[in-house]
């Protein structure tokens, strides 16, 4: 019960924060303006955040760093990058990336 309350409040806080980020300049209008440096910095948010989320999914298994070529996810990620660049399709990238990781795991088994 207490957990549900904390969960609900956390979601609400995350939602309010996200909404505020989306609303700040729309509502603030002329009162706020985005400095060129801040604007330039924000342009790096997507690549930096996504890379920060991707890297451990590939290279950390069970709390250990696995950097070597015997890591199936490394090769599957490479397949996914190529598919993403060629097709620009999220669906194709997920499908072929998963097939690659399953295939490599079966070969290793």
């Amino acid at each position: 019960m207490k957990d549900s309350l904390i969960l609900g409040l956390s979601m609400l806080a995350g939602g309010v924060l996200t909404f505020a980020t989306r609303a700040v300049f729309l509502l603030g209008g002329e009162r706020f303006s985005l400095g060129p440096h801040f604007r330039a910095l924000l342009a790096y948010v997507p690549p930096a955040v996504l890379a920060a989320l991707i890297a451990p999914e590939i290279f950390v298994r069970g709390g250990e760093l696995v950097l070597g070529p015997d890591n199936p996810r490394l090769w599957a990620a490479a397949v996914a990058v190529v598919v993403a660049l060629l097709t620009r399709s999220v669906l194709a990238t997920i499908a072929l990336g998963l097939l690659a990781v399953w295939g490599i795991q079966m070969l290793n088994a």
Binding site: L12, S33, V101
Partner: protein, 244 residues
């Protein structure tokens, strides 16, 4: 002549449908993402009601996945909220861009459009708003892209929750989150400095795994942003910045 000329005399519903049609191709990427989020939200230990509710309360795919992972990792709530904030910081850029394009809108429209302002809704609408005819109804186009995305996201989340209880956990489905992010990231990289931001953020995330509460997410994101921005400034200053 621009491809938006057909909207020159458009009324509300023509703008709305224009937005819906512009958004539909992007749903191809959003639907699997929503399914994956629904499945993994349950696997991370979130109750079904929370997985579904978060899609309308937060309404931001990557941040919802991060929320679920941190919640599953027993991270304290304030750090979860802060990390969600950092992941969604990029929306301020869209807010600034749309603000300059839709200056005269009344407050209630600004509130609605701010809520619907996601990556995909912005991307599908910005071309029409910036280079299409400047009619008084043009915000309906953004409303159309945003609403379409919102509906697609809710439907796919519910689909993922329904599917989630039937899928075995050993299918490496958690990896599909990384694959989704790769699909978003790889085609979007345009500049050397963005590639540097990726490398620095990725390396920092790995080196800082020992940090408590998964604070490596925020640390790595900040390190990547600083690296990309500094490199960009440096390359520009060196005069090599043709495509820095």
């Amino acid at each position: 002549m621009s491809s938006w000329d057909y909207l020159a005399g458009a009324d509300r519903s023509a703008e709305l449908w224009g937005g819906v049609r512009a958004e539909l191709p992007l749903l191809l990427g959003v639907l699997p993402f929503g399914l994956v989020y629904g499945v993994l939200g349950l696997q991370a230990g979130l109750p079904a009601w929370a997985v579904v509710a978060m899609s309308s309360v937060v309404f931001g795919g990557a941040s919802q996945v991060v929320f679920a992972q941190l919640w599953g990792g027993l991270v304290p709530a304030p750090i979860i909220v802060g990390t969600v904030g950092v992941v969604n910081l990029r929306h301020a850029l869209y807010s600034a861009s749309v603000a300059s394009l839709l200056r005269e809108l009344p407050l209630r429209w600004k509130l609605v459009l701010a809520y619907l302002l996601t990556d995909e809704a912005y991307m599908a609408a910005v071309g029409r708003l910036s280079s299409g005819p400047q009619t008084p109804q043009r915000h309906w186009f953004l409303f159309g892209t945003g609403l379409t995305l919102w509906l697609g996201w809710q439907v796919s989340t519910v689909g993922g929750v329904l599917l989630g209880t039937t899928l075995p956990a050993d299918w490496s489905l958690d990896f599909s989150i990384a694959l989704t992010f790769i699909a978003l990231l790889a085609p979007s990289l345009r500049r050397r400095s963005e590639l540097l931001a990726v490398l620095v953020a990725g390396a920092t995330a790995l080196l800082a795994q020992g940090l408590p509460f998964k604070l490596w997410i925020v640390l790595a994101a900040c390190a990547g942003m600083m690296a990309g921005m500094s490199a960009n400034l440096l390359w520009q200053r060196l005069g090599a910045g043709r495509s820095a």
